[in-house]
Symmetry: C2
Subunit: 215 residues, 2 copies
Amino acid sequence: MSKKIDISSHKIMSMEAEKRNRIMNAAFKEFNKGYKKASTDSIVREAGISKGLLFHYFGSKENLYEFAFAYAGDIMLKEYFELLNFEQRDVLERLWQMILLKIDLSYKYPMMFDFLTTLHNEDGHNLVSKSYGYTFEEMIPKLFADIDETLFKDGIDPKMAVNIIYWTFAGYSTAQLTRINSPDLAEVQKEYDRFLKDIQEYLSIFRTIFYKEEK
Amino acid sequence: MSKKIDISSHKIMSMEAEKRNRIMNAAFKEFNKGYKKASTDSIVREAGISKGLLFHYFGSKENLYEFAFAYAGDIMLKEYFELLNFEQRDVLERLWQMILLKIDLSYKYPMMFDFLTTLHNEDGHNLVSKSYGYTFEEMIPKLFADIDETLFKDGIDPKMAVNIIYWTFAGYSTAQLTRINSPDLAEVQKEYDRFLKDIQEYLSIFRTIFYKEEK
DNA sequence: ACACTATTGACCGATATAGTCAATAGTGTT
DNA sequence: AACACTATTGACTATATCGGTCAATAGTGT
């Protein structure tokens, strides 16, 4: 159907990066509701640009959606996957890396992760998944591939342990997000430390309950 | 603002229960998108009734929304909380009860839980939360209140352990839901057994890692 | 002065929206 | 049968929103 988009050759890439990201972040946020429900009016309002400009660059809502996916994919590749050290086979250490990276990315692209995770069940799915051959969620197993299973205690199934670990941090994250209603930047920054401290505590629990005793 | 709705005295309660639940389930499903985005046309289409009938009973979309919340609250009270045995202080046993009850309720009211959990961040929040004084999520801590902390190993913080347990089952549930695209009833029923078996396995893991050895 | 791109927002036809209403079907009462 | 009352329908309305267009203006480089 649609071929893979080369984002680097796209007209909008010559736009000032701050403005471009404002537009893409607005698109991520709005497309979170699904392709059909998303409104181009809302996107331009959120991005602070005119309606005409959006269509000047993208031509149609569908093109914008496909580009948003390609743009997010590019960011994930260059600012996430390539920065992850997959030689770290201790799953708890690797997760720690992932959390730090995700926090950084969430400052820059607040709704990008949510946008990517909605792809699997939305009507936009057919628009893009075929041309890319994968969905974001299919990448998750890769994040936990090739981990060192010898670190786990003998009675523990590593697969289930990794699931517990992953779901715990997913649950903790959403619990934090729903608690924070005000995007009061000073307030958020203050909670950032406790956030990381909490996570380290959970990591240490997992280390004691799942891993063999250190010698 | 709006006072608490007494659902038992509402006109619609004299309607045949099956039909009424069809309407309310359609409302739960549609209001999942938030008050504004929900469409009364979609609700009547889903419920298989005419537009006029909906407004005959509820007068306005806003009244319907408020009633839906009251209706769900009533169901939660009578078909969930009151059936839970809070004298079971073993948190893993209590969770097992909760899971079984939730599955039952999800057959009868497939979108009710989702509807209730969206209240906290939706525009409809202001419509109802004030008049009831609580949101659904504020009830969650009550579910885990007064548990027997002496069952836990000495090195384990019971609060954190309960969080891990709760988030694990939340994560497992959503993982299952995203996997099932087709509401193929026979297929779903077949997976039901594996579903419960998985959960029991996780429960047994938690029992071994968090609880003291049995004598 | 010229060419070209960036940017705007009023505007368009199409669609979707919440809510109305007159008409019909149904049910129970006398 | 006649009456009263409620249940139910779906065409209809007025408004809002939708994706997309376009002529005009601002800006930039030559």
